[in-house]
């Protein structure tokens, strides 16, 4: 099957969360006849169960459909769905690099939000042709004209003739399809040049091995082509090439310049396949790799322990398997006095952490204890050594430390003026440094802040939402490391130091955080047979204290007419409940407490 490049359209859809990206993708797939309505499961592209539940895209997905345009010609559409979360910004950027254009979906009543801007700028950075679509015009609160004006004013792209649609109701989808043909440029690669293809994702399949998602920029790849990954150096021979059906891989003869599809080779490890790397023909390599490749580093670390220490090998196996499909997950073994053997795991962000732990629990049936997530601190030691600290328990003695640095992010927050004050004070509480404040209309402001990553990983988003009643949106990217006054806060339960509860905190916040940690632990740990003192300490000095009073009684009364079945059930439940506890010294601590104590809430 030979397709000329001018009949190919490679594009993605960018939007703020909930503006209707996935619904529009579904409509496009449906209208182009790939699937009948009956075959459509809602949101075809969000494959993972977790993705469906959370309504977000976690991994990149791609699908190829054929569109019969009004001009009578057939066009191949490659829709590349990008992850919808800041944790996966690098993946988003690589997916966008595989496209020639993007559809910007804006909610007709919400208008432009923080992620809209972030995504549009990302698309424009990749020289993509972006055309807007105004969605949800069926809502009573829709104000498409104003939103169109907003798009022109703020983003500076033409929006007067933007399709006004309702993806949910299927209104205006034809206009979008025609606009894709008209506005998204056709690829312009050279099929005769040496092979140059971009890896924008990869998945592990137990039959096929690693399946590499590529966009061919130049040249051709087919079965038997000797290939090389330019950054990792891995070399192999192509076993299969193909393109993406709806949720399935469809083999074909070749992929030539301008096309999107997949290749498999006998690659066993996903680690060798890095998103952003360039695939070339090892017999006839291209002169230089595609720009933009980088190795992504985890931003957030936490300890992951099996609740039952005998399950440590199972956890190791599960992590190995997950890593096959998610090269951005890193882990290494560690031990904790409180929690035994486990792993220190690195994640792209908190959502990534959530997803991985949830998958471990669901797909691998692991019962986990996770410790509070933390960022990577840089410690400049007095002897000149630079140390990257991922586990607070490893912090050296303060006397050995010259100074410390912590990572900052550049954040953009879109908020209506009504809540401006509340959001500014939130950012100040979180040690933010304001770098910009632009009124985008009379009622909405774009705030720019430099914020310590540590201050936003736990609950910043929740706080933002509650203080703005949901009317603020937020996006960020890692900026730089900055020098900071940091101390290690330790927690003692019943006078025993619990290493898994230590964390690094800004010096001036230590007292407040320590106090709230103790209060929170008091809520989390059930009363036990004796009084339990809870203490927070910095450098051996107690800065806060609470006491959990001994519980009173726990007696089952009636056991009627000799029917003991209920009594047995209750005792069994109690025994089960005990499994959800971690014994630390003589105190039983619910496993959830290790993570929950850090969710200090926002008063």
């Amino acid at each position: 099957m030979s397709i000329s490049e001018d009949h190919i359209r490679n594009f993605s859809i960018v939007a703020h969360i909930d503006h209707g990206k996935s619904t529009l993708a579904d409509r496009i797939i449906e209208k182009t006849g790939l699937l009948t309505e009956r075959e459509m499961q809602d949101q075809v592209l969000d494959n993972m169960e977790l993705e469906r539940e959370r309504g977000i895209t976690i991994k990149s997905q791609a699908v190829r459909t054929v569109y019969q345009a009004k001009n009578g010609e057939e066009y191949i559409f490659n829709l590349i769905d990008t992850p919808g979360h800041v944790d996966f910004n690098y993946e988003v950027s690589r997916s966008l690099a595989a496209c020639d254009g993007a559809i910007l979906v804006v909610d007709a009543s919400q208008g432009i939000e923080a992620q809209t801007l972030a995504n549009v700028y990302l698309a424009l950075d990749h020289d993509l042709e972006v055309f807007p679509v105004i969605n949800k015009i069926d809502l009573p609160s829709a104000r498409p004209d104003e939103v169109a004006a907003e798009i022109e004013d703020i983003i500076g792209i033409e929006a007067a003739d933007a399709p006004r649609i309702s993806a949910k109701q299927g209104i205006g989808i034809e206009d979008v399809l025609e606009a894709i043909v008209e506005k998204i440029p056709a690829p312009t690669g050279d099929p005769k040049a040496p092979l140059k293809a971009l890896i924008f994702d990869a998945v592990y399949d137990s039959y096929k091995g690693v399946i590499v998602f590529i966009r061919v920029m130049d040249g051709v790849v087919k079965k038997g082509t000797p290939i090389k990954f330019m950054a990792t150096g891995a070399a192999d021979e192509v076993i299969e090439v193909g393109y993406f059906g709806a949720g399935q891989f469809i083999p074909c003869d070749e992929l030539s310049a301008g096309m999107v599809g997949y290749i498999t080779a006998s690659i066993k490890e996903l680690k060798q396949t890095r998103v952003g790397d360039t695939v070339t023909n090892s017999a006839q390599p291209c002169a230089e790799a595609l720009p933009g490749y980088k190795k992504v580093n985890p931003m957030v670390y936490c300890g992951v322990y099996p609740a039952d220490s005998a399950k440590y090998p199972d956890l190791r196996d599960a992590l190995e398997k997950l890593q096959l499909n998610d090269a951005s997950l890193v882990y290494e073994p560690e031990t904790s006095i409180a929690l035994g053997f486990g792993f220190r795991c690195g994640f792209l962000g908190l959502l990534h952490l959530d997803i991985i732990t949830e998958r471990l629990e669901r797909e691998y049936d692991m019962d986990l204890v996770t410790t509070a997530p933390g960022v990577v601190y840089r410690i400049h030691k007095a002897d000149g050594e630079l140390m990257e600290l991922t586990n607070p328990a490893n912090m050296p003695d303060p006397s050995e430390i010259d100074y410390m640095e912590e990572p900052y992010v550049s954040a953009e927050i879109m908020v209506s003026t009504e809540y401006l004050g509340a959001i500014i004070s939130l950012c100040q509480e979180r040690r933010g440094i304001q770098t910009g404040m632009d009124y985008i209309e009379t009622t909405r402001v774009l705030l720019k802040y430099e914020l310590p990553l540590n201050e936003i990983i736990y609950d910043f988003f929740d706080a933002l939402k509650s203080r703005s009643r949901g009317y603020a949106s937020f996006d960020y990217e890692l900026s730089e490391y900055k020098r900071s006054e940091l101390v290690k806060l330790d927690i003692l339960i019943n006078h025993e130091y619990v290493d898994a509860l230590s964390f690094i905190v800004f010096k001036d916040n230590a007292y407040e955080r320590g106090k709230r940690m103790c209060e929170k632990l008091k809520e989390e740990i059930p009363r036990q047979l004796f009084d339990i003192p809870l203490q927070a300490a910095v450098g051996g000095k107690i800065i806060a204290r609470e006491t959990i009073k001994a519980y009173r009684k726990d007696v089952l009364a009636k056991c009627y007419g000799g029917d003991i079945s209920r009594k047995r059930k209750l005792l069994e439940k109690q025994k089960e409940g005990k499994k959800k506890m971690r014994q630390i010294g003589s105190v039983e601590i619910p496993k959830k407490a290790f993570l929950n104590v850090l969710k200090l809430g926002d008063e």
Binding site: L529, R552, K553, D554, A557, G562, D563, L571, S586
Partner: protein, 415 residues
């Protein structure tokens, strides 16, 4: 010890009105001696009659190999009716009419049932024969006659559900009586020659305070009953209490409830009552024999709707469906479960430890062939270290603090 003697439990699943906390198997009838209750009593007689001819010799033999390892449900069609394993020639040491509200049946029916049991079983001369009475059931004029008839029928112990002496608390519980009705019933019982009387009380109920419960105890101690039960309220799902937000129940808080519980222990001890089981107190020699059978895992056979039985290592119960029971009372056995050795050992511990005397190492060895320490040594040592258990010669028991934490300690004895 199991096997030597037998106890009988007779369930009467009717009440005038259900109490707000009650999740026992019982139906509200609105009055005494309704046709349904009488049909039920007649069915009880038929169920008892069906036991005739049963003996251990003709009992089915459950494959013992199967019983090792995992427990399993026994198919009644394969093994026959487990009640047939009951050797009706064994001496009966206690009979207990419970409910529901047993005195919703007229004394004639109770008499008939007892007569039937006397014909079927060998009832020991000094057997304890108890009935539960609700003070709100009897009309003024029938009280004396009914109690006299019960005495005549052979009942020698009565258990009166007072729960609280405080009118407001009784109302919240949904009880149909007041303190006066209780006092009249009590006085009449004494007149009729009942000297072994239990009074049931509840703690941790809506509106209760230390002071209010002190007054309840005071009222009861004036009467000096031989036995006092003090159960704490458990809010169960599916009851009116379980349907409303916990806060709206006005329960005493954890600390106050504990105070009430400590006070009960203290006041009753001062008054000469011995706490022989977690929730039961008695003057010396008046411990409830029937109650102890449950904790000692003696053989007991339950008759009536939903009644539970333990015969040897078989636990079973009757159907809980009233229509089914009424149509075939002789065929009501269900949920037959053969205990594994493991389950039997667990029961030995968690039931036995309810008694303040604790469990006997010698009895354990006799029952299972193992030293208790082979199975539970580590756990017992741990609990002793925590001050929750202690030893006294052959006996291993909970300390007072261990009693407070009974559920936690007992759950550790599940293997």
């Amino acid at each position: 010890m199991p096997g030597e003697k037998l106890s009988l439990y007779i369930h009467i699943p009717f009440c005038i009105k259900k109490c707000n906390y009650c999740d026992f198997l019982s139906f509200p009838t609105g009055g005494r001696n309704t046709p349904l209750a009488e049909r039920y009593a007649a069915a009880l007689l038929r169920e008892a009659e069906a036991l005739r001819g049963g003996s251990l010799s003709e009992a089915c033999q459950v494959d013992i190999n199967q019983a090792r390892g995992q427990s399993y449900q026994v198919d009644i069609n394969q093994v026959g009716d487990p009640s047939r394993q009951v050797d009706i020639n064994k001496p009966v040491k206690s009979i207990y009419f419970g409910g529901g509200t047993p005195n919703i049946l007229s004394s004639e029916w109770i008499t008939r049932i007892l007569c039937k049991l006397k014909r079927l079983f060998t009832i020991e001369k000094d057997a304890e024969i108890s009935i539960e009475l609700n003070p709100g059931v009897y009309e003024e004029k029938e009280r004396h006659r009914e109690l006299e008839a019960l005495k005549e029928a052979g009942i020698n112990r009565i258990s009166i559900g007072l729960q609280s002496a405080c009118a407001a608390e009784l109302k919240r519980l949904g009880r149909i009586h007041d303190l006066t009705a209780f006092l009249k019933l009590y006085e009449e019982a004494l007149n009729c020659g009942f000297e072994n009387i239990n009074v049931d009380l509840m703690t941790g109920i809506p509106l209760q305070t230390c002071d209010s419960f002190a007054r309840t105890l005071e009222k009861v101690l004036e009467l000096r009953p031989k036995h006092i039960s003090a159960y704490s309220l458990i809010v169960e799902e599916g009851t009116p209490f379980g349907e409303v937000p916990l806060k709206s129940l006005d329960l005493p808080d954890e600390d106050e409830e504990y105070e009430i519980y400590l006070m009960t222990r203290r006041v009753l001890k001062q008054a000469g009552y011995e706490r022989y089981e977690i929730s039961n107190y008695a003057l010396p020699g008046y411990e409830c024999a029937h109650n102890l059978v449950y904790w000692d895992r003696g053989d007991y056979l339950g008759l009536g709707l939903g009644a539970a039985s333990l015969i040897g290592d078989l636990r079973f119960s009757n159907t809980g469906q009233l229509q089914k029971y009424l149509s075939a009372p002789g065929d009501a056995r269900e949920n037959i479960h053969k205990l594994t050795e493991k389950e039997a050992m667990e029961e030995f511990m968690f039931l036995g430890l309810r008694k303040t005397a604790g469990v006997s190492r010698a009895d354990f060895k006799r029952a299972f062939g193992y030293d208790m320490d082979e199975i539970y040594g580590e756990i017992i040592a741990g609990e002793e270290g925590a001050g929750l258990m202690e030893e006294d010669g052959d006996m291993v028991r909970l300390t007072e603090r261990g009693m407070d934490a009974a559920n936690r300690v007992m759950s550790k004895f599940l293997l």
